[in-house]
Chain length 907, copies 2
């Protein structure tokens, strides 16, 4: 505590500053340059004008301003009338802060005030330059990718207990807990410290929600783009992970976890595993596509369609303005759809269903492995305890209810003896209290889904009407289909992108209305709602094309009309699969490109630019020495706050849907997903390292509800793929033709077989083609369906072929679904959830620990006469943490653990 | 330690005995009448004849005989030549015992020798009459059903730690751990004590396997049928649980758990839940059946079939000897099958699929609840540790391998440098070592399954040939079908029962060949194999009737022949469902009745009788005072050893299959299962209380692999029921007829619609009925199939109706399966695995514990100056155990815990 740094309050204006900034570490430390900063609290404070001299400006805790921004937002209303109540509020908040901070110090934390910020520090007075040591150690040892704890060496660890402190391998008191653990400890205390003045709320989250503080965050480790050679974790992460230049490298997962905590570490581990799993599926997808390309010349049906010799005269595609047409004119789409509609796709979609299972199983294993190396195996209790904290909004609501109840019950109790069993319900929200919220939720979600559907229907109507309009004009008639399909898909894409953002906000709003009790339920419900809405939004046009388009057309002579004169749209002659493929590729690619480029890169850049511009235009009260190097907490304050991983996961999950759900119709989906993800990993990394405030290091041992959603999509994809192959593609009709109807066992004649006859004279009056320019006399036209010919006893009824093909399709669905489900269960069963080496390790470690404690017990019994040798400790470290056993020092290789373990067993 | 009991060695012959037997408690105690007996070890010891005076008869540890039986078995070979090596073996074993027992005492156990037995006692010298107190306390308080710990009161518990002994509410040092815990502690020590002389084997299990000891078991609490008023847990269990007279009562689960341990407690809890879940399904099943009875008169198809007016002339059922027949003659079966084949069964099978899910979910919840009240929540580690113990057979095999390897590698090392990485594999069995076992397993299982199938096929052949033979004889012709079906089913039943026993033995043998490493893998693999074999055995005839019978018949004019002249069998005109129903009911009822009565009641009775007879016929060396009251350990020794719960679970799982898999065809299955289980509960209870030695109290927190099997059956049942309804029953054809073909929307004309025409003149030469006595000229006969009529362009091909009905059937399967699966997932998701009250309780308890420890920590810091106040303890109790917190004394109600918890939070 040298006196040079005592005037912390106006430190920001102090000219002495440069002297201390020589030691770069000071930016991460208290002004005594010794105690490390673990956490930062920020709050707004309106600077008082000269006209308002009351309050307590000399009070040691109330002299805080957040600089420009703070002034900005509140400076808008400078009237005296408004200032009065605002000041009262300000005073109230100040007092609440006072109490809260007092409680924090009582809990063992150390605070330091800054003109800008407070710094909070976990107890323990002698601070050491831990990170400096780590840096100097790690930079030469791990030159490129730092693999501190990755090298299969693991220290024996045990939940930290102050009582047994003498057991741990504490070489350095301040380096014993790493930065993330330190800030987690502080965050835990912040969460648990009560503030009775603020309605007895618990913890910093409530205080932030009530605007008493503005932000609370731990510090970044330093600058990521500092020019010097000095290394910190952040810079290391930037150089080795958060740049596009290193896209080919593995992610330094352990360093990510160390810096950002387990939750974010698990996200990137998951993303990495997913991306690497996309590689084999991309390869096979490309092979399937190439197989389609290679066999395109051998495909008999498309050859038959393109053959001008056996010309099929097709019925007109619209009333009046459309003419009869020759099937060979649709040769192009027929050939194109063979690229995606060939037997290889069937095997590919079985493969992808198993791939999804394998991926999930391997994720479980990786999760276990990471959980083991990160010491997360016994974390349940902690998680459960953190679940207990009610959200501030919930507390407010309960308080409101209690107030209302107390008024009512006072009345009630006068009138009659109110039943006793009500009391239990008074301090929590019952079903009755929640009913309006739930009702609102259900109604809104149903409304949103209906909205999505009606937009899809709107696009259909757009397609039908535009197609009809364009058909009237001869010039545009030739490429009607392409124009209409392309514009419609782009409309769909734009609508999806807009609704995606809206639905995200709506889901948040709805979840707030619901007032879930804890942060975890809040997050889960938000995710479920957002997923439901975004899933419906992204996939409903695709489901329409896959399963409904062209199935309600009717038949020549009795078409189905949407509106007067507008027939339901048909599929292209090559089948709907081609269209599905176009739809999928445009929506998937468009969504990824636009969301990545605009929302993830563009918008943050714009925000930054905007803020910078604002800063420059309003220099206002900027201090004279504004150009001096700002403190780390100022730099961090200027970053975007961290708002959770939900959007990142959501994007990937929707992509996972594209990769699995319709893979039968678009085998190239994995390739595009892979290309996107290679960029996505670095994009997210960059965001976390350079653009966001450092997030609280949250300990969690799994990815929570996302795993359930993933496995749900995986299961759903089986039935969807079964239906795509059976119903949308021509795979089954071809098989049936080949083995039941073909004369020589080949597909020759298949096209003829799928086309029914229609007697042109039976066309309804007014629907015949006007000015037919077809070159031959037409008596029968053909249409794609299995119906009885005009000369049969019951013309135009579904024929026997129709029913037999339908049976085959349905049988295929049953077989495919049950086979794939069985194989998935088998894969699930065969791959153990816990990798063998890890479970062996855990066992060994456990028996080693037992032996270790038994030995210690023995020694203690021996030494029972010499009492009180071990009243060490103090401070505030009774949390669980990683700790090294002092027993087998220097021999931490698995092998040596095993051998020493078996030795101990016999002791 | 009164001197009266010092000559323990010949206690059995001691005339002083009656003096001590006045105090009945002494039968449960050491001969000092103070220390409680926790465990018994038994071994055979050949009494030396006078001619063999060597050895060391005066040795203090070697004077043990198991009385009659011991003599019996070894007395067969009294030759001197044989006795020599036998004695050497005996001596060897004695030395091994000596060492083992010495090690046991070193581990803190106390042993006492008996002429018959050793008694082992957990450390702690001052023994108290714990059970007596419990008895005197419990008998007046819980007069009928003892609910000691059932009354929703729960003490705060925490894994016992000797270090914090001062924290626990130890009122009485010997009553602190209950009997089950005491014997578990002893068993744990027995399992871990090494015996270097016996090839360094670990634990009592290996020693028993090597015949060094004969048995090891804890003592029963006393006699269950003692006439007096004195109560012990066993007697209580007998009176309130293990009698048929109390079949209507709930099971005293907590007492069962206390007496038999958690594993057996969980079995009975599971059985109880299953039985109570059968009640609603029985009720609904009966309602469905009654609905069938009530609507039988309104069923149009069966009325049409019975109507003599519109007579359908059916084609003959066999070649030559069978005549044309009138459909109305099959009226009876048609009416009967309506009882089971009506729309209500569809809803019932949906209900039962959801019922299975509900049952499993509720079991998970009950398991959690019991786990909480029984303090099993943190048991994983313990389980994992117990997995580590290798089975003796595995150790032997590894030793053999090592011996072989060492010989080989000595040679190898001379020849070349053997690779180093081999070393890891030497101390465990590799894939190569296991290959013969695995191969043997696969081959045997395939052979067994093939055997089952061929027996089923044999029964089919029996049916076909017998039917043909009986048809030749006019006298028997009238009731051919009944005779054949009934005899065939009985043959099936007998075969199933015999193979069931054989397959049980085969599965055990195969698993032994496999040499699994640990007891747990042994049990799991045995269960899987036995389940697979028994499942195939029990269900293959049923599957045949449900899905294959009558489907490969061919059609008149081109029948399918099994052998020359023997046609494949057809279903009865009412559909195969009726036959399936008969098959199901006979196999299910027969299996249950016979297995319960003969195998579970009869065989043990016979065994007992046999042993008694043998004892009487060979009085041999029976002691003169044989009539005196035997010690408890003698009584227990004469009981059957406990061999695990596998047969009990297996029986119930197979029954669960009958209840769920084919419930669509036999809605009464739940009723029969319910009736059986009400008896089964008491039967098993009686067995455990009166006929078996007391099992080791095994702690486990779930029912293990059985849950997976149950949920697998539940999932399988969905698709099976879908197919039964769609394919076996007439539900879908009726619907299709009603909505597509019927003229007036009713089922009138359905029977006609399902029958195809056949032109009699096209019957093959030699297959026409000889001596037709049919009363009218037959031109066309009818058969049940959808085929084109003889006058169609392609006669006898499958008609359009066939394909449309098939499509409808398959579509139904898809819809039913996916709907039910979705509903199951929904039910699974909606019912939380942990009951809310329990999870609240756990949370409260946890925070209470944290607060409690924090408070204690504070106090300790305060008292840091006064050292060594708490060096208590000794003994051998560092195991985990239930313990009561001393903090909120007297206020253990959940409510008070909650309130004190929240108080502490603010301290």
């Amino acid at each position: 505590m040298d006196p040079e740094h005592l005037p912390v309050i106006n430190n920001y204006l102090d000219a002495n500053e440069p002297a201390s900034s020589e030691a770069r570490l000071s930016r991460m430390h208290f002004h005594d340059n010794q105690r490390k900063v673990d956490y930062v609290l920020a709050y707004h404070y309106r600077k008082r004008g000269a006209h308002l001299g009351h309050g307590s400006p000399g009070h040691s805790l109330a002299v805080i301003s957040n600089g420009e921004t703070g002034k900005e937002r509140h400076g808008g209303g400078p009237g005296d009338i408004e200032l009065g109540p605002l000041d009262a509020l300000e005073e109230e908040r100040r007092e609440q802060r006072d109490e809260f901070e007092h409680n924090l110090m009582a809990a063992g934390l150390e605070l330091e005030k800054d003109l800008e910020m407070y710094e909070i520090k976990a107890g323990g007075s002698i601070a050491k330059k831990f990170s400096a040591i780590l840096q100097t150690l790690s930079s030469p040892l791990q030159p490129r990718v730092p693999e501190h704890s990755n090298n299969r060496m693991k220290n024996l660890s045990y939940p930290f207990s102050r009582e047994k402190m003498y057991l741990y391998n504490i070489q350095e008191k301040d380096a014993f807990f790493d930065n993330a653990t330190r800030s987690r400890i502080v965050h835990e205390i912040l969460k648990r410290t009560a503030c009775s003045r603020a309605n007895n709320t618990m913890g910093i989250n409530s205080l932030i929600a009530n605007n008493i503080y503005e932000a609370a965050y731990p510090l970044h480790d330093g600058e990521y783009d500092s020019p010097g050679d000095d290394m910190n974790d952040r810079k290391l992460l930037y150089q080795e992970w958060a740049r596009y230049g290193v896209f080919y490298k593995f992610q330094p997962i352990d360093l990510i976890r160390k810096y950002f905590g387990e939750k974010i570490g698990l996200y990137f581990a998951w993303l990495g595993l997913y991306t690497s799993f996309l590689i084999p599926s991309s390869v096979i997808g490309v092979i399937v596509f190439l197989y389609g390309c290679a066999t395109i010349e051998e495909d008999i049906p498309s050859k038959e369609m393109c053959d001008h010799q056996n010309a099929f005269t097709m019925c007109p595609l619209c009333d009046k303005s459309c003419d009869y047409w020759n099937l060979s004119s649709a040769c192009g789409t027929a050939r194109a759809s063979h690229l995606f509609d060939n037997p290889a796709t069937v095997f590919f979609s079985i493969f992808m269903a198993l791939w999804a299972t394998m991926f999930l199983e391997n994720w479980k294993r990786l999760q276990m492995r990471l959980g083991y190396f990160w010491d997360l195996t016994g974390i349940e209790e902690e998680e459960e305890r953190s679940q207990e904290h009610s959200r501030p909004e919930y507390e407010t609501k309960v308080r409101e209810k209690l107030l209302k109840e107390s008024g009512k019950s006072a009345v009630q109790k006068l009138e009659a003896n109110s039943p006793e069993d009500d009391e239990d319900d008074e301090d929590k929200l019952t079903w009755k209290d929640r009913f309006p919220g739930y009702l609102m939720n259900s109604v809104s979600i149903l409304f949103m889904i209906a909205l999505t559907f009606s937009i899809v229907f709107g696009v259909i109507v757009y397609r039908i009407t535009t197609a009809a309009a364009l058909s009237l004009n001869k010039a545009t008639r030739s490429n009607v289909r392409v124009t209409v399909t392309a514009t419609a898909v782009i409309i769909n894409l734009v609508v999806i992108l807009i609704l995606d953002e809206i639905y995200g906000a709506v889901a948040k709003w709805l979840t707030k209305i619901e007032v879930p009790k804890t942060e975890q339920t809040f997050e889960e419900r938000l995710i479920l709602k957002a997923f439901l809405l975004k899933f419906v939004n992204a996939y409903s046009p695709i489901f329409y094309v896959a399963f409904f388009k062209g199935r309600f057309v009717g038949r020549p002579g009795s078409y189905v009309y949407v509106f007067d004169g507008y027939r339901m749209e048909e599929c292209a002659p090559g089948g709907c699969l081609m269209e599905l493929c176009i739809q999928l590729s445009i929506i998937m690619l468009g969504k990824q490109l636009i969301q990545n480029n605009i929302f993830e890169i563009g918008v943050p850049k714009l925000k930054k630019l905007f803020r910078k511009l604002k800063d420059e235009t309003e220099p206002g009260e900027s201090d004279p020495d504004h150009s001096k190097r700002p403190e780390q907490w100022d730099l961090d304050y200027s970053l975007e706050p961290y708002t959770g991983l939900t959007p990142e996961y959501m994007e990937m999950i929707i992509q996972f849907g594209f990769v699995t759900l319709f893979v039968a119709s678009f085998p190239l989906a994995p390739v595009f997903a892979l290309l996107n993800n290679v960029i996505e990993v670095r994009l997210d990394a960059k965001k976390f390292v350079t653009e966001l405030r450092r997030p609280d290091a949250v300990r969690t041992k799994d990815i929570g509800i996302w795993f359930d959603i993933l496995s749900g999509i995986g299961k759903f994809s089986v039935i969807i793929n079964a239906f795509v192959i059976a119903v949308t593609s021509d795979f089954i009709p071809r098989l049936v033709y080949q083995y039941s109807y073909s004369h020589n066992g080949t597909l020759h004649g298949f096209v003829n077989h799928t086309l029914s006859f229609f007697n042109v004279s039976q066309l309804k009056e007014g629907t015949q083609p006007e000015n037919s320019q077809f070159d031959q006399e037409v008596q029968f036209c053909r249409f794609k369906d299995y119906r009885e010919p005009p000369w049969a006893p019951n013309p135009y009824e579904f024929s026997k072929q129709y029913w037999s093909v339908l049976s085959a399709r349905l049988a295929f669905v049953i077989i495919f679904q049950n086979l794939v489900m069985f194989l998935s269960v088998l894969v699930d069963w065969m791959i153990p959830d816990i990798p063998t080496d890890i479970s062996d390790q855990i066992k060994k470690e456990k028996s080693l620990l037992v032996d270790f404690f038994l030995k210690e017990e023995h020694e203690k019994v021996k030494l029972a006469d010499e009492p009180a040798q071990r009243s060490q400790g103090g401070g505030n470290r009774s949390r669980r943490s990683r700790a090294a056993s002092s027993a087998p020092s220097g021999r931490s290789q698995p092998g040596s653990i095993a051998s020493s373990g078996s030795q101990h067993t016999n002791v």
